[in-house]
Amino acid sequence: GAEPMLGGGPGGACRARRLYVSFREVGWHRWVIAPRGFLANYCQGQCALPAALSGPGGPPALNHAVLRALMHAAAPGAADLPCCVPARLSPISVLFFDNSDNVVLRQYEDMVVDECGCR
């Protein structure tokens, strides 16, 4: 399940959007013991000024991102806007049966988007 993706055009400012990955939907629910799914989330939104300056509580803006947003504001054709990408991520653990009927617990780093930022 996911928030409806923003179509093209300006859309809202860069931030994390909800995306839930269900192991049942990808057909792994017979061999994944837990969890049933996880909130992976994703980043989307505009990185024009002032969003590139990042709102309250967001990650510190990268100077380069601000510079690019300024260049774009001054000469739209000269430089692309910064990109809205993950700025802080968290791990998940998955408990499952493998092909040899072992019970396996694996940790996966950087699987959940906690914060997005303009880069």
Binding site: G27, W28, L95, D98, L105, R106
Partner: protein, 226 residues
């Protein structure tokens, strides 16, 4: 709700991202999940769906690629059951001193060469009608190939004062080199001898708890420190 996603490039890519070559084929042989595995999972993922916070309690941050409860580095923990159990004939009652030896077999084909082991713990449950004076002695050796072959190199000997709680034997270090690669199938010969005349014990269950670190899935290790 939507129909499940048919297997294809997208799910293959997700599997690969999770370091798995393919989804287990068919329904796995469901068996109870060992309490330790549940505990390790819940310690890292107290909610069924992850809320994105990496704290177990306020102020505590979990180290990446580390198994706190076992105190070792690692990002893969496997509970591997003994494959020899079903084929093991029930022990005949034998006189003291001639206790049987058991061959236990662990399927390690899922362990990849890139994985570095940090813990390999045998967990054994015995049953005995009596407790001999001075307890028991456990010996673990590499099993010979083929039925009836004599055991190979003795990996460890360990005193076992009482039978009741599971007997744990650490294979890494003295018995098995930390950097040694694992065979696809590990065959061990076990013997449990009473230190004083007594009836023999019976091996009720054997499993191997193997913790490894796959550096490819451990980004903090790969990320250069500024």
């Amino acid at each position: 709700t939507r129909a499940p996603v048919p297997p294809g490039p997208a799910t293959d890519a997700l599997l690969q991202a999770l370091g798995l070559h393919d989804a287990p084929q068919g329904a796995p042989r469901l068996r109870p999940v060992p309490p330790l595995m549940w505990r390790l999972f819940r310690r890292r993922d107290p909610q069924e769906t992850w809320s994105g916070s990496r704290r177990t309690s306020p102020g505590v941050t979990l180290q990446p690629c580390h198994v706190e409860e076992l105190g070792v580095a690692g990002n893969i923990v496997r509970h591997i059951p003994d494959r020899g159990a079903p084929t093991r004939a029930p022990e005949p009652a034998s006189a003291a001193g001639h206790c049987p030896e058991w061959t236990i077999i662990f399927d390690l084909s899922a362990v990849e060469p890139a994985e570095r082991s940090s813990l390999a713990r045998l967990e054994l449950r015995f049953e005995a009608a009596e407790a001999p004076e001075g307890g028991w002695e456990l010996s673990v050796a590499l099993a010979g190939q083929g039925a009836g072959a004599s055991p190979g190199l003795v990996l460890l000997r360990q005193a076992v004062p009482i039978l009741g709680p599971p007997v744990r034997a650490e294979l890494l270090g003295a018995a098995w080199g930390r950097n040694a690669s694992w065979p696809r199938s590990l065959r061990l010969a076990l013997a449990l001898r009473p230190r004083a005349p007594a009836a023999c014990a019976r091996l009720a269950e054997a499993s191997l708890l193997l913790v490894t670190l796959d550096p490819r899935l451990c980004h903090p290790l790969a990320r250069p420190r500024r």
